[in-house]
Each structure stands twice: as C-alpha cells, then as structure tokens.
Symmetry: C2
Subunit: 362 residues, 2 copies
DNA sequence: TTGTATGCGTTATCAA
DNA sequence: TTGATAACGCATACAA
C-alpha cells in the first residue's frame, strides 16, 4: 500500500532544532534573539559580507579556502538566509505554487504528492492552495500566490484560457490536465485508455453506451467525451452524453435517473468520484452492478477499489503529472529548458468488478 | 451535501486581472513591467513616500484629504504592496502555516477548510503542508515554514512535546487535536461522545469490547483509549486494546486478525479510516457487520456513510477546530487575545449501520 | 579572488 | 500632520 510511510522513530530530532538566538555575538543590541546575518558570518570568518553572500548563494565564485571558512562560520552560528531579504533584490523565493480545484478530491492526492516530491528534490518549497471549484476563487488565490512564488502550477484549472494566459504574463504558469495554447501544458494521452476500455466493453457484448460528464466548462470532461465518441464510432457502438454535473460523489448520484432513463448497458463517468456516486445511487434503487449495468470511472483514485464491486477505471498518471509539472517549471526557471524529457503520460485500463458481460434479460 | 459549491459562471473575471505593467510612469527605465511602488504613488499624489506608507499600512495617521488622494493614486496605478519589502522591516507576512500529517486523510479536510475560512475572514493567507506521518519531515517542514509565516498551526502533530515547545520559541504555535503544556491547544471533549457510544453498545447487549489504536505515539489515540476505558469501567464492561497501527484504511485491515482472536463483540477504532479498513477485511473473511461484530469509528469523516453498512462513529468538530485554531492564533498575533471565545468543541455519537444488537449464537 | 558601494520597497525614528 | 532619513538583510556591478 502506497500509504504506508516511514517509521515513527523519535530519534534525536530534538537537537536538530536551531538555537533560535544566535551565538552571543556582540554586534546586536537586542540581546533577545536576533537571527544571525551574513554580517555576523563575515565578522566571524574575517571577510567581507559580500564574499559571504557569494559563497552562500552561488558557490564556486570564491576560493576553496575562504569558502570553507565561511561555511564553518555559518554552521557555527546556525545561519539561515532571510528569504525576504533575498527575495527583495532577486525577486525569487524558491517557492512554487500549486492550485487544485478541490483538496478533498483524491485525484489530486497523487498530483500533490508527485509535485511535492519533485519540488523537494530540487530544494523548492511547494505552496498548496485550493479554489473549491470556483473560477473566481481560483483567480483570487492565483493572484495572491503570484506575489510570493516563482511559478504557478494549475491542476485542472477552472479559469478560462485567456485568464490563464493573462496570469502567465506575470509569472510562469504550467497547466496540468488541460491544454492551453502558448502555455506549458501536461495532459496524459487519453485515447490509449479509452481505446482499451471500449474494446473491453465491446468484448463483453455492450452495444449501447453512455457518458456522464463533469462540469460543462471542464476541458478534461470534453476531451474524454470526444475520445469516447471517437472510439465508439470506430467500433460502431452507440454512445450518448446523458448527464453532466459536479465532479463529486454527489454529482454522480444525481446522474442516476438520467442514466436509468437512457437504457445504456454500460456507462463511462467523468471520474471515479462520480462513478462511485452513480453506482451507489443505482444500487440503492436495486440495480445490480455489473449484472444490470456496467460502470467505468476515470483516474483510478485511491479508494476506487474499496467499493462493492470494486470499480473498473481508466487510470491516469497523476503522480507523474504532478512531478512532471514542477520539473518543467523548474527547468524553465533555471533556463535549463527541456533538460528533463517530458515524461510519457499514458492512461491505462484497469479492469475490476464494475464492468461485466451485458445482461441477457434486457 | 457539503461538497456542492458555488456556480461556475465565468462572469467578467478577465478584466479583474491587474494590468501587470503599471501605467506608463516615466520614472522607470525598464519599460517592460516594473510594479508600481509607493514612490510612484507619492509622485502622483504629490506627497512624500513615507506618507504613502502610513496611509496604506495604518490608516488614520494621515489627514482624510491626503488619505483619499493617496488611495486614488494607488488605485489608478493598480498598486499592490511588495510583501517582501514589507516583511523585511516588520517580519510579518500575513501568512499562517498549517501542517497536517496526511493530506489524504479526510479527517483533515474539514480542519483545512475551517482554517482556510477563518484565515480568509481576517485577510490572512494559509500555507498548507503535510508531514506524511513522519516526525522528521514534520520538523523539516515546520522549520521551513517558520521562516515565512507569522504562526504555525499543527494538526495532530507527530512531533514530541518538547520539540513543539522548541518550535514555539521561534514562532507562535497552536496545536489541534493534542494537548501540549504551555502551548495553545485545541482538543474536543472526547468523553461526551464516548459516553454515549458506550451506553449505546451496552444497550445493544455488548459486554466485551475492544479498541484498535492508532500510532503508538499518537496523543489522541491514547486519549481516546483512556476515555473508553474510563467509561467502560463505569458501565462495568470489559474492554481491551487489541491492536495498534497506522491511522489508515490499510492499518485497519491489518488489525483484523487480532480483532477476531480477541472475541469482543464490538470494537472501537482509533478513527474512521481504520474502521473502514477493519470492516472490509472482516467482511472479506465472511464476518457480518453488525450481526457478528459491531464496529465504531471516530471523527465522522466525509465518506464514512458510503460503506456497507454505513459506519457508526463518534463525530469530531473538525471544522470548528481548524477555524478555532487560526482565530486563536490571530488573536494572539493581534494582541487582542481571547477576543474570540474558545468555541465549545464537543464530540457526538452518530449511530448508523455498523453497530447492532449482539448476536445470540456466539 | 575579494572588497566597496548601492539598490531592492517598506517601515520606523526623528524632526519639522 | 507631514517630510527626511536610516534601517531591514541580501545581491551585485564595479573597482581593486
């Protein structure tokens, strides 16, 4: 299970905490707790503050000998850079912003984890925020973030394309799960998974399919729907869009009546959350899954195998998308563009219990 | 359903985005996009920069007339303060840090939402981070945050008491779901819910109970266990600690064998996640819930009613805790201590389908 | 390779 | 009430 984490050993973490009040250098009046500065280090190492700055920010521009003296002094004083002071002249904070539309949506868990990981790897801090599925809040949050981060990553944004481009005029923006012209975008290859899924359903005897969409403005929902249509046409299967709603469990429940009315024998849902909601609602009405109806989700979120029956779904490379986004961003920021190859982002069919052979007695 | 959010109307958000490049003031060489400063405002309003600073930071210290002139100029230039420049002399950022142990744990969803809400209310930004259940990472994250926020809120921290106190010597700390001496702590009254739960089980005929604990270092797990023991003693019911593990679905599953071996007819789990895992694992082994065994969770997380049967649980005031924590923090920071009364944080029994009458044939 | 001088945008101290 | 000026801590262009 991916959720098992490292040990709980307390170890000797206690003394890893900085002293707080620097060593008793005599330079400061405020005896209480003045954080040590590069001036303190300079004094201790017997060099000029600017040399300290050089040694600490971009090593290599100072002799090996003084470099060491400075590092030792810094360690002794337990020095940590003042990020504000550094940000003032440079404008950079070594912080990236990640905005998701809904923290409670498990689809974002892996995106977040992947982004965190990649950021930590290159010593960046990730600042997380959510828009609670509101375009307006998303804009507010993004603007607020723009003031303090080096770049913004938008996961499944609710903003319009133009607004995103506007945002990108201030700070670099990378978008995940959506294609926006002239903006770095990461989106997985949907067709791969959909092709397999349609083939899978056809093999089970289904001929009349349905799609329950997400929010109408959702770029990803449209793309998934297009892909499904294309593959169904190719396989000569009938398919129709029967409902659309919030990308939540509740949204899925609400689509139940429309699904029943449609008469399809298998239904794609915009995402796993909706699939779960739909399945529950249908089951409550006595409909058996997959005997009476097959249900398919998207994403393969954590918990999609906890339902009864476990959900068949089209898996998205969430973690890779999150990680890929920050890597791309960092490459742009460091100028080392495309040092990292874009990862191959493929979707993949995961067959579990919610899809089955089409029922006879219909 | 609490997850339904506001509309998706695109509205006319587009022109809410700042121009980016300030009005063509002639003062700057870099024609591209220099953000307007208080100097630009001062020039436009015909006053001294320091007056602008006063007018914008703490209104009232400047004449009504010039105040308006300055505000108008600021609006015209679409001025926004440079948070780094402001933080340099003041050390304050109007940002609060919230650290949770696991972003995927639904119990934190409401804590986060409550905190976000309360922060936004007083115009503070919330910076969210997770420790992935590791004390070591928690310390790293907290220290990193300490450099840029005005205060840190620790939700169900994994750190030791002493480490938390150490942290608090640098920045104000508020702890949620744990009691730490000399640190502002918010923890709900556990006994209320436990009392009702024990009474509920007793009424159903149970006499031999069990508790599946969370991580051994978990303060909250210990507290819950103590409370359960106390109430069971009072009601003359037998109860024993049969297992302990990670506070996850997986952790619950792993407790299944110990639970079966124990022979209790009803079991409390440290939290809903574990209860769900335990229930699933038991059901897989053919045990019927609640006919063969009653299961009770803690927290009442989103989704705890999605299981079959829906989970009976002891509800925690999560949202109130999150909101209460930032309000307490803000009160401390603003000096207006205890302007806000501490909210009453009570737990409450929620009876659903996973608890039932004790079986006869045992 | 290192030191000097200056700027980054605000707030704060002191006069006026 | 307002203006001048010095921090705040770091980075950097330029000089040595």
């Amino acid at each position: 299970m991916a959720r098992d984490d490292e040990s709980f050993k307390e170890a000797t973490l206690s003394d890893a905490i900085p002293a707080g009040d620097g060593a008793p250098t005599t330079h400061s009046q405020r005896s209480h707790k003045a954080a040590p500065t590069i001036y303190d280090i300079a004094e201790l190492a017997g060099v000029n503050p600017s040399t300290v700055s050089r040694a600490l920010s971009k090593p290599g521009r100072v002799s090996v000998k003084t470099q060491k003296r400075i590092e030792d002094a810094a360690a002794e004083l337990n020095y940590r850079v003042n990020v504000f002071a550094r940000a003032l002249p440079t404008g950079r904070t070594n912080t990236l912003g990640l905005i998701v539309s809904d923290i409670t949506n498990p689809a974002f868990f892996d995106i977040i984890r992947g982004a965190e990981e990649a950021a930590a790897e290159r010593d960046y801090t990730l600042m997380l925020a959510e828009s609670t599925e509101s375009a307006e809040r998303e804009l507010t949050v993004a603007q607020r973030m723009a003031a303090t981060v080096d770049g913004i990553i938008l996961a499944s944004p609710r903003l319009g394309d133009e607004q995103i481009r506007q945002l990108a005029t201030n700070k670099p923006v990378v978008v995940v799960n959506r294609q926006v012209d002239s903006i770095t975008s990461l989106v997985a290859d949907i067709d791969a998974g959909v092709t397999d899924a349609v083939r899978h359903l056809a093999a089970l005897g289904h001929t009349k399919l349905a799609y329950v969409g997400g929010p109408e403005q959702s770029w990803m929902s449209s793309r998934r729907w297009e892909s499904i249509q294309a593959r169904c046409a190719w396989s000569s299967l009938e398919v129709s869009l029967v409902a659309a709603g919030m990308p939540t469990v509740d949204g899925g429940s609400k689509a139940a009546t429309a699904v029943r009315a449609d008469g399809a024998t298998a239904v794609f849902c915009y995402n796993d959350l909706m699939a779960i909601g739909l399945m529950r609602e249908l089951q409550l009405a006595g409909i058996r899954v997959p005997d009476d109806l097959s249900i398919l989700g998207f994403d393969n979120i954590f918990g999609s195998d906890f339902t009864t029956p476990p959900l068949s779904t089209i898996k998205s490379p969430l973690r890779e998308s999150g990680g890929g986004a920050v890597r791309r961003m960092l490459d742009e920021l460091d100028g080392s563009a495309s040092s990292t190859m874009s990862p191959v982002l493929r979707t993949e069919l995961v067959v579990r219990g919610s899809t089955g052979r089409v029922s006879q007695e219909k």
